[in-house]
């Protein structure tokens, strides 16, 4: 069964706002998975996918995506109203 896009809220690390001028701290969008969230971010701010994902493809080693408080992967499904945080991992600094 095809997954259905649901309304979610994405909070982006402040450093991403500096890399993509005009990008807000919080973004409301509709997506079924974390991969679809990143698709939408890429559509709004071209180049953001390359900052968040490598060519494997997977979320970069030192970028963390949390969905409702749990660390997620590209294929993680989203519930309506999910809170997504995209942050830089302490391991990358």
């Amino acid at each position: 069964m095809a997954e259905v896009a649901v309304a979610v809220t994405v909070t982006l690390a402040p450093v991403l706002m500096r890399l993509f001028p005009g990008c807000p701290h919080r973004v409301a969008l509709e997506a079924a998975t974390v991969a679809a969230v990143i698709d939408q971010l890429e559509g709004r701010w071209p180049g953001m996918r390359d900052r968040l994902c490598d060519s494997t493809p997977r979320i970069r080693r030192h970028v963390n995506v949390f969905v409702d408080g749990a660390r997620a992967a590209l294929e993680t499904s989203l519930r309506p109203g999910a809170e997504i945080f995209i942050v830089t991992a302490i391991s990358g600094g």
Binding site: D54, T56, P57
Partner: protein, 358 residues
Amino acid sequence: MSKTLILVGTRKGAFILESDQRRGDWRLRGPYCEHWPINHVVGDAAAGTIYGAGGNEWFGPAVWRSDDLGKSWTHSSAGLKYGEGEEPIKSVWSLAPSAHGLYAGVQPAGLFLSGADGAHWRQVEGLRDHPTRPQWNPGGAGLILHSLVPHPRDPRQIWVGISAAGVFYTGDGGETWEPRNRGTRADFNPEGQRYPEFGQCVHCLVMAPGEANTLYQQNHCGMYRSDDGGKSWQSIETGLPSSFGFPAAVHPRDPATLFLLPLNGDTAGRYVPDAKAAVWRTRDGGKNWQALRRGLPQENAYFCVLRRAMATDRHDPAGVYFGTNGGTLYASNDEGESWRCLAPHLPPILSVETLVVD
């Protein structure tokens, strides 16, 4: 009046020092590129564009671009990737503007080409398709394509330096490549295997001005000159204090003048010999060497100068510049005869280049 810029890549962003053609007073600005490690900063004098190559542990590789001499920057890595399942690109290590566009060397070693926008990349696949690639071994900094030398007039010809695969050459725009390492040593190999076809640890490859077939290289194991486009190499290390170092810089007009900065040895600490700093200059293609020390620290100097961290400018007399891994930038306005410190407290310096704009 023309501007003279020193383009500095550091562990924590790019910096620019700006002066006029007299090069007396310098103004430092930066850090740029969001504090990313920037391995190489180059300028295209004709277009007035500055590019920065780097990679960030969080966000991966990118090429940064400024069209206003560093005041504002954009970044892109569109197309700067290998296929799914391959080891992802970690960082961009080298840049070279050419008649074909902008070339970029990356880690793990590969070559990419973009238009002048530096924003849309495609791989020059022939290099990664070379049959020796499965046997390329990483050097201390990883498997990096750090030296990029396009022919100044023939866009089909390019030389690259890869640590530790050696020098490779293409004469057909990148479709096919051949190793060009004959005469350079691999002292780290067992006896009897120290002159292989490839696998040498080239540290820096440069081309003499106006002499496309004259190349110089600083290698992990010696300093070398070639007069046949790299088909064969001759050692030029006699008269130097060691056979180890990283950077090499050519004179802007004299093909027989070369600047090196030998270090005390790969297992001896990799700092300047006897902790006394000197740039070494030849005026005769490597037959004779002179230590240039005036103004440089002559005691307790335990620094290293990395492979991209020395450059000349196009003025007459030529300026020479180098930056240390301790974050100090030195300059000479008289082809190395005397030196002064321009910036003592930068982050660790990874690259130094110059740009003169009219």
